[in-house]
Amino acid sequence: MATTACFIIVSRNDIPIYETELGSAAKREDAAQLHQFILHAALDVVQDLAWTTSAMFLKAIDRFNDLVVSVYVTAGHTRFMLLHDSRSDDGIKSFFQEVHELYIKTLLNPLYLPGSRITSSHFDTKVRGLGRKYL
């Protein structure tokens, strides 16, 4: 079953620190840019919504055609944004929680400057693995 998914992590200062395409569907050249565009446009909605609730997992906050944007906000205001075609909420919530753990482990690395791009291939492999598992 082919799924489309695009995942980005945006830091507190509105700088994207990680981006990846996770879906198992065939990737088209223009699709990647469109996905990023949708996610960046959703940032405004996240900004407003984040202050109204103290929950971390904000479910589907924006739609575009048949794609849905779900967001998970941490206490440090780092946003994990996932663009996907409608999947189960539970799977997505578990995906976010596992990525949050990975992100904390990245932060615990003393050589990692908080707010800079995450370039570790290990992190990338793990996120893709989680994407296959939960999405």
Binding site: R12, A50, S54, A55, M56, V73, T74, A75, G76, H77, H100, E101, I104, K105, L107, L108, P110, P114
Partner: protein, 176 residues
């Protein structure tokens, strides 16, 4: 991710860190040593706050974040909560710990032999050295609090007040 560390190891590490920075790396520049120790504390506080806020809901305002520091954060670090929290409602908070764990083993008597002090004849100078040595050990916890709060979105300045050992007060001034 949760593991345990022996407390004596943590104490030795902190003592050694303060003494290396003050006596070896920045031997005659206590202000620089203090800034470096505080910067280490900042990074540690940043990482710890990210870790300890994972399981709980986010904060709705500054007071919630400070209360988190006083209760959950402090109990994870020192196995007890802050004993007293005072505020002037204009961005200044005073966190008072009546028995600060990391200072619990430091001698208060300025005339007794202490590893950090050299023998000195005049009492006021000795007392000053004792206070200075003790205050060096407080830059690290001040940095931790500052790092934790700035990760939660609250830029601030943290200073420590040790007028009555072993009680210790941390004054947090939120930058408008």
């Amino acid at each position: 991710m949760g593991r345990e560390v022996s407390e004596s190891c943590v104490d030795s590490l902190l003592t050694e860190m303060v003494s290396s920075y003050c006596d070896r790396f920045y031997a005659n520049k206590p202000e620089l040593a203090a800034r470096r120790i505080e910067a280490i504390g900042f990074q540690v506080g940043h990482q710890l706050s990210e870790r300890y806020t994972m399981e709980r809901p986010r904060f709705s305002d500054n007071l919630e974040a400070i209360k988190f520091i006083c209760k959950d954060f402090w109990s994870e670090l020192f196995k007890k909560q802050i004993d007293n929290l005072k505020t002037n409602h204009k961005g200044t908070f005073v966190l008072q710990d009546n028995r600060f764990r990391w200072l619990a083993r430091m001698s208060i008597d300025p005339s007794s032999e202490d590893g950090d002090l050299s023998q000195d004849n005049s009492a006021p100078v000795t007392e000053n050295k004792a206070t200075q040595a003790t205050s060096m050990h407080l830059y690290f916890p001040c940095g931790i609090i500052r790092g934790a709060l700035s990760n939660l979105g609250i830029p601030c300045a943290v200073s420590a007040d040790i007028s009555s050992l072993p009680a210790c007060s941390f004054v947090v001034r939120i930058k408008a």
